[in-house]
Symmetry: C2
Subunit: 467 residues, 2 copies
């Protein structure tokens, strides 16, 4: 271990290597609230250093957990036991923005929000917009295939990345994809690495596909008597060619939590909310808003409000934004899931969630990206109370079971990390799972890239009875 | 071999197995004009049969080349030597279209055009629109990651497929991806299989992401004095948030070929064309068309025409559609490439193509998807003349060299197949290429799925000097 640290110090210099436990501590956690300090923290500033760090670690048999800004919620950035944390926060240059080609070339440590500002100067944006955009990195976005509300219209990181430069577990440099918006030369390693949570290769540069900022954007908020009414509206909205760029929902538990907060002006009977954003040409907005209002309205609709200004827009979103702090106030612990079901099956899933909440005596609050069927299921709990952790765990297993029965998936945008690896086998069938593990071995034969994430570690073979 | 055929006959019945050389002959070619008859043609009708066929072939060490409708241009569907042709043309059911979830579940043999008609009944469409849409299959589209003009706005097959059912080279069933428009559970095997030209797994079912048909669509055609003027217009168009759903170009050689044909009404001085389609809300069309007309216009623009009816729309596209027959008339042989460069580098590439054409004494005609920088370079030649084949080959190698120097890619939508496999190493660096081959081995350890495609076959090791 000391030999590795000596190598890293000579490679990076002392300023870019942390070895004191107190310095390493903050690099031991992410938003999953897990904590395990790395043996050291290395800050890379360029591709060649990353390749060198990987080769050093491979020689010394030390694992590497790559880190963007630690905003992930599934534990992917929490160091594996005995791992080095390779932080990309100082490898944070926007290398180029080429408006004529609508691409940006960036290092992985660039913050999402910073990239958006730089692109906006050219009338462009990069679609992935996780709620942590201001303080999460593009590299982390790619490692976890981040999305956000805009995914309904513009897709996730996988649909908005053209190519990568990366370092495999052997320290080899991999150039994947291309600089163009089309390309079919060889296998698609770009999308394979995106969403692989640092287990296949470490991304050191990305060529991102940008979009033109639309001329106009409008926000509407509709309150419904119950989710069934919201779901009917959702179906009608999905069936129109309207330029819907966000389609968020809150269920009755979520609405109840924030309804009486100051500044949140909602009908007393509100039992579900949809917040919808439209974008497109300015000349279309009046008729698009009218058409959207019609699609949102039937006898289960209590009101539809349209923002006429940025201030009003903020007011409409306030309901959604008040939710996270409100959740923190009512329960000390929260399990925040992000399951997905086909949009048409959301009413059924919410019904099942209600009955599971009752059966297990756990409060569940649900909201999320309705246009993708992506539901942030929040189990509110208090792990300090005896038996709570176990109860929540059982309930969660039944949530996942229901999601899969409805042809859904266990994670829409948070990923697997540590938190869901034991459930992976519920969704991925054995043949595909075995292939994924074999692919991992090709990228990382020594198994040093973020080991134990995504997959449950293979148990050591049982001792032979002969011994 | 006879043992395999007996097994296949008992599995499929005699009607779904062709063994007579005359019957097999039509299954030996694709649009690359290569021809090599398969040892037999098996028609699968369901997933289980495909798995069984693969297992039989694996047992007997016989290769399999899967076939949609043989419209590919790179030879991917031309049987490998000694291979069985597994045709999907009778496995052609649309299993389900679910408008509320905007998905279609299809068998691979469904024709692209047939799928579009079925989707249109629900106000939906599947974005990939190769020019062969009426007679190519969705399975072939997926195997080659097909695209077409709409890719500029809606993406290629990879951006519009949610999940697959497939059979690996070991006969294992692989379920990849999901039924939802978001999902990050495990590695992205869906995109890995898409575009792999039948070398990793055989697709037996696909869950496709559909889009709402836009309310309105308008077509404009602009004629320019030269490509430099067209390129300036292209840059201006790309910088607007206009809803451009196709952005096609023809260079001066292409324009010269069709300018004087009956029904093609073009300015005498026309040296380049752009054909642009806009789609979006009806209420926006008037101002969008006006804005597009402005973006298309400077002092190098000769005219901008706007189609006011379907008939006029057909007239504007007539210029583009007359091109393929015109090409056939002037040269017996044609090498049709589909290189891509960043949009901003198209003028430079066209300049280089012109000088290569002069240097090699080969006529080159260029057109394609300008919005993606995807250029169909056509080398017109006559292989009957001595030395022509060699000359074309040398010229082509220099075209590829120029494309890669401009940060382009060798194929935007046609793929590699047989035709470009020897050039793969020019674009894909050794580490990535080695990984691709290792991934192939995991999916297909016996190497029976479309061997010799994509990669140049590994040579036998040289005889040891000791022997």
């Amino acid at each position: 271990m000391q030999a590795l640290l000596t190598e890293l110090a000579s490679l990076l210099g002392n300023d870019d290597l942390l070895t004191e436990p107190a310095d390493c501590w903050p690099y031991g956690c992410d938003n999953s609230r897990r904590q395990l300090s790395p043996i050291a923290v290395a800050f890379a500033r360029e591709h060649a250093q990353v390749a060198e760090i990987v080769r050093s670690c491979a020689r010394h048999g030390v694992a590497i957990t790559a880190r963007g800004r630690g905003t992930g919620t599934a534990g992917a950035a929490v160091p594996a036991p005995g791992a080095l944390c390779l932080s990309f926060e100082r490898m944070n240059r926007i290398i180029d923005i080429i408006p004529g080609d609508r691409i940006a070339i960036v290092q992985p440590g660039v913050m999402n929000g910073e990239l958006q500002s730089a692109c906006a100067a050219h009338g462009l944006f990069w679609p992935p917009d996780p709620s942590s955009a201001a303080y999460c990195s593009v590299g982390g976005n790619l490692a976890c295939n981040a999305a956000g509300p805009r995914a309904i219209r513009y897709g996730t990181a996988r649909e908005n990345t053209l190519g990568l430069l990366a370092v495999s577990g052997t320290g080899d440099s991999l150039r994947t994809g291309c600089y163009t918006s089309k390309g079919v030369v060889g296998y698609d390693l770009t999308r394979l690495v995106i969403g692989s949570e640092g287990t296949l290769a470490l991304i050191t540069e990305a060529t991102l596909k940008l979009c033109n900022i639309p001329e106009a954007r409008h926000t509407l908020r509709a309150a419904f008597v119950d989710f069934a009414a919201a779901a009917r509206a959702l179906t009608r909205v999905m069936a129109t060619p309207l330029g819907v760029s966000a389609l968020e929902f809150m269920d009755r538990h979520a609405v109840a939590l924030i309804k009486d907060l100051p500044g949140i002006d909602l009908p007393a009977r509100a039992g579900a909310l949809l917040i919808v954003e439209l974008d497109g040409p300015r000349s279309a907005m009046q008729s698009e808003v009218a058409a959207l209002r019609r699609a949102l309205t039937d006898d289960g609709t209590l009101e539809v409000r349209v923002a006429r200004s940025d201030t009003q827009r903020e007011e409409l979103w306030a309901a959604r934004k008040a939710l996270s702090p409100a959740l923190r106030n009512i329960a000390p612990d929260k399990i925040n899931e992000d399951v997905v079901v086909p949009v048409s099956k959301m009413p059924k899933l919410l019904e099942i969630l209600d009955s599971l909440a009752t059966r297990h005596g756990i409060t569940m609050v649900n909201f999320g990206h309705a246009g993708n069927g992506n539901i942030h299921v929040n189990l509110l709990t208090d792990f300090g109370r005896a038996g709570e952790r176990d109860k929540a765990r059982k309930c969660l297993a039944q949530v996942f079971e229901a999601v899969l029965l409805l042809q859904g998936t266990l994670s829409g945008e948070h990923g697997i990390g540590y938190d869901k690896r034991e459930f992976l086998g519920l969704e991925i069938e054995p043949a595909a799972l075995a292939l994924m593990k074999k692919i991992k071995q090709q990228f990382d034969p020594a198994g040093i890239l973020n080991p134990d994430k995504l997959f449950v570690p293979t148990q050591s073979p049982p001792a032979s009875p002969a011994n």
